[in-house]
Symmetry: C2
Subunit: 368 residues, 2 copies
């Protein structure tokens, strides 16, 4: 897609062309549990917490931590980027790839991010905490992600005077992270629970053991595309093993539950309704000329369910997950190499989706 | 489609396999003016009007008129059917083909219909009037349809003592038909005017010259599928030529207006929105597993617009018009050779529509 008339060419964002680990498409229960993330919140002694720092202090710390990250003895050195050097659109691309938080993209202070080529490690500097060490693994792999994060954390702690209290554990900017500073979260795709009106019940049962269930896209409680993020809410007074176990067990239960309701949706009298919903979504994505993010995500969700249920031919789960990412506003503009207003984005998004999903077909219908 | 379990096989309805003249697909402005109908209301001296007749009187008149109709010196004799001999579903098929009125299908008295193989002539016996002589011609052909109807009317009047007053003209059961007993109506497809929110204005301008504009499908003012019927409302005090001219001129104006708004909908900034609407409708029809009459008609309307605008490949206007008829409830059940409840009909309708529209494709998109 060449830039249209009046559209500015934009610089290339410093990420790989691959999708990154969070859409890796392999790992346990990946058709439901797309990706596991484990992160540690760490701060450096002798500096105020990020929200209280002035610009000079933040610049000083940012430089120190970048130097430290660059020198880590890793198999592959991290790519380091000062976010003030990046265009707003490039920062948005990093947000859509889950490499940085929305806060880090928008905050004014000097700040950086370092990530590896596979995008399975991303360390944020001067976010809410001085360091946010994040490790991603596709599928439901809490223990594995934790092991990588722990090793990275060890390497950093050896090189940095970390803010730690014998009484409370690791000290963090926000009290909810004090203690282990650990958050384990899993991105899950739950169309079955949403379509069966069981998502509230499922979210409540996770909340009972102090897990948060939030929409992965969109603001507030709306979960666009039936994508959710399940994570622990508390760190203080809970060991790392307990946190990992809570999240892992809860997601395993959600996965089982989701599989059960998907089977029910595809059985008996409800099967026709489910096929109707899935195939209509495919028809919309293959034919629309105007497609906003919300409608796109919601239809991709239905089609993703269909692909994993074997109801759609000539479309791979991989192609579909790719579109999930590439149809996001910043990625779309990067792909078009042009800044686009919302109306132009909706038209380009529709064109992109058609070009990828155009060849997909509902499986041969036995009834007629 | 063989009958499913528990579905009764139903008798074949006595109509041809063709679509009938009203979906003939040829004639002036047929992409907008599907079909012209001219009908005369006539009554026989010495009999009460149909609503007042008792069963014996109705049976007697019905027999007499059938005999008369059978003996008319036509190139092809009319096929005559007593409606009490037909199953309710068979009568519904005749209604959907516009050969008989809904009233004639449901009224209790002895009554008949005679029509030719092409379904371009249909004479109802013991409807609101003793005789309703109807002639259909595809496209906008008011004068031509009138000539055929007039000839048929002459043949009948020569053989029947017709109720006629020197003062009022032909006497009819309802005062609105007194005089010429003539109604000319044209079935028009106006998606452009509906989508542009100009349909009210168009209908009002027709009403100003005493024409009625009614939805062809559905009850009341809702026009499913953007199909309307334009006809004269008064007969008394207006010559036949004036009535024909009123209807003809008004429909010509509507056709021009519709063409103008279609051009506007396909130009400039609105083109993408229009393509979006048309191609989404195609996607829905090609993929839905459950499709009720209303949604089916509305999407067929959009696709019909698209086919006539050259936006859809591998689908002919003829195939589309065929589906318009065959997807109606009674035709659908006849095709399935089974009585179906509404849920089963919606599933079979979706399957039928997929089977006919499955190969259609949006024309190659130049933008991407």
């Amino acid at each position: 897609m060449a830039p249209g008339p009046g559209e500015d060419e934009i610089p290339q964002v410093p990420t790989g062309t691959a999708l990154g680990e969070w859409l890796g498409g392999v790992g346990p229960a990946v058709e439901i549990a797309l990706c596991t993330r484990v992160r540690f919140a760490r701060n450096v002694q002798g500096y105020r917490f990020s929200p209280q720092m002035d610009t000079d202090e933040a610049r000083d710390l940012d430089a120190f931590l970048r130097q430290t990250l660059a020198a880590l003895p890793l198999a592959e050195p991290l790519r380091l980027h000062e976010l003030t050097d990046l265009e707003p659109l490039e920062r948005e691309v990093l947000v859509e790839r889950h490499l940085i938080s929305r806060e880090l993209a928008h905050v004014a202070r000097p700040r950086s991010v370092g990530f590896d080529d596979a995008e399975s490690i991303a360390v944020m500097v001067n976010e809410e905490d001085h360091l946010r060490i994040q490790v991603f693994q596709s599928g439901l792999r809490v223990a594995e992600a934790y092991r990588v994060a722990e090793r990275l954390d060890d390497l950093l702690i050896q090189r940095i005077p970390v803010a730690f209290s014998e009484e409370f554990g690791f000290l963090t900017s926000c009290p909810t992270n004090v203690g282990t500073g650990l958050r384990a979260s899993v991105m899950v795709h739950l169309p079955g629970l949403v379509w069966s009106d069981e998502i509230e019940k499922a979210a409540n049962s996770a909340q009972k053991i102090h897990l948060a269930v939030r929409g992965l896209y969109g603001e507030g409680s709306r979960a666009l595309g039936d994508f959710y993020q399940v994570s622990n809410q508390i760190t203080l007074g809970r060991t790392e093993d307990e946190v990992l176990d809570d999240v892992s067990t809860a997601v395993e239960k959600l996965v089982e539950w989701e599989r059960r309701v998907r089977d029910a949706l595809l059985s008996g009298a409800r099967r026709t309704q489910t096929l109707d919903r899935i195939h209509r979504a495919l028809g919309t994505l293959q034919n629309a000329r105007i497609l906003n993010t919300e409608e796109c995500l919601n239809n991709l969700s239905a089609v993703r369910f269909g692909v994993h249920a074997g109801l759609i031919d000539d479309l791979t789960a991989r192609e579909l997950d790719q579109i999930l990412l590439l149809s996001q506003p910043a990625h779309l503009q990067r792909l078009c190499r042009a800044r686009l207003d919302p109306a132009a984005r909706d038209a380009r998004r529709a064109a992109l989706v058609r070009s990828v999903l155009g060849g997909a077909r509902p499986c041969r219908d036995p009834e007629f």
